[in-house]
Symmetry: C2
DNA sequence: ACGCGAGATACTGTCAACAATCGGCGTATC
DNA sequence: GATACGCCGATTGTTGACAGTATCTCGCGT
């Protein structure tokens, strides 16, 4: 419980330029995404208020904000609960994500630069190295950065924000490890196809490769969750 | 579709099953989308509280929710303002919308039924009739219903909700009429292409027709706003 | 022992009051 | 006459208190 005494303290006293509620949104969001507040668990307003040294007002504003973002669920007279994603919802999110990511690929392909291409190939080389040496823990963050870089470079802030929101939301799925894993070497082959398409400047081709990359991740998730329900196991 | 736009009173007394703030979100959202609260205007908490007969607390919760939805903007110590969309943002939203709508078309194509096809062709026939007889005012709502029906039938609630959110958000664009108009007869020709693709069950083809339909609307918007295209292709 | 209902409890929903901050307006000064 | 300064009203930020509701506990009856 009492871990990570690093630089993240539950103290918002320095905050003045931005509303207290806004800062609380970020903090509570962090608690949720790091798993400190587990999906399904209830959020106690008084506890949080004490923890952050504020009253319940700003806490309530923050939770309503998180509700609109889809991270928590508010039940009248019962409280707010950290949202728990069903398999169906996770799959739905994958379909939204593939659409957005494909579009990002299309947009990026239409205004590529040499510098962007260099960055992209750099990511791939790094991931190749990590995959070969078996440093799986280090692979995932680079993979994430690679995807983020593509979305951020597409030149559509709205699209980028939405994509990021759905990636965050996937953390609420029970089997988080499943959405993180994925082929590695297989995945990086797909990455190469994506970058090739981007380099060609063909928006349509870029869309397909990017869309398919996420769609395959969805299929892997489905396969690992629903393993041919033939018979009830012992 | 539980909206009864005819008789709307600023009274929420009947509400008990759902939180007051949630009801306020809907009400304020309505005020914004109907244009009663114009983009750029400031929302006075006390005025709203008096209007709805509540205190400022629930109003604040509602506005924070709307902030997360992207309908309003909160400036510390200054208040909340109805969001005003720049041309760039409107274009960005079109790119998000086309991605989502294309994906909806793909999903729908993959599980079409005769009944859905009948409904779709019904919409098109009705729009044809209205376009010919020049009833432009009646055309737009049917057009909207047609698109909504597609997105709702795709079988992905998350996708549908997001699509709807962005369509709503486009109402915050200064030249609302521009996003409503659009070829009519031209538009309905595209509609026919979309339905043909859906009927064929070819997801890829459905995606392209649906994506292109929204993308063309974006191009029309760009053309009418920026009369000299910097670079033209396609 | 077990089900059931009244009371206790803990929490959320809402409110009114207090504190802090911003913008406007008048005035003084150069 | 123009500009800088400071006061004041208006509005937001935050808080603590009160009311209503769901859940839990415990005693009672069978």
């Amino acid at each position: 419980m009492s871990s990570t005494p690093s630089r993240h303290v539950d103290d918002l006293s320095v905050v003045k330029s931005v509303s207290l509620a806004s800062a609380l949104v970020r903090e509570i969001e962090r608690l949720i995404l790091t798993g400190e507040l587990e999906p399904g668990s209830r959020i106690n307003e008084i506890h949080l208020a004490n923890r952050f040294g504020t009253s319940r007002g700003p806490i309530r504003e923050a939770t309503r904000s998180l509700e609109a973002k889809g991270l928590v669920e508010v039940v009248r007279n019962r409280g707010v609960f950290v949202r728990r994603l069903s398999t169906e919802e996770a799959v739905e999110i994958y379909d939204v994500r593939s659409a957005l990511f494909g579009q990002a690929g299309r947009l990026l392909a239409e205004h590529m630069t040499d510098e962007i291409l260099a960055r992209l190939t750099g990511f791939i080389a790094e991931m190749d190295k990590l995959a070969e040496s078996g440093e799986f823990d280090a692979y995932y963050p680079v993979n994430l950065a690679f995807h983020s870089f593509i979305v951020d470079s597409a030149g559509n802030k709205t699209l980028a924000a939405e994509y990021r929101r759905f990636v965050d939301k996937l953390h609420l799925f029970r089997a988080r490890s499943l959405v993180q894993g994925g082929g590695l070497a297989v995945s990086n082959r797909e990455h190469r196809e994506m970058v090739d398409a981007l380099a060609s400047g063909d928006g349509e081709r870029a869309f397909i490769t990017h869309w398919r990359h996420v769609d395959r991740a969805k299929k892997r998730l489905l396969a690992s969750i629903d393993p041919q329900p033939r018979r009830l196991s012992s």
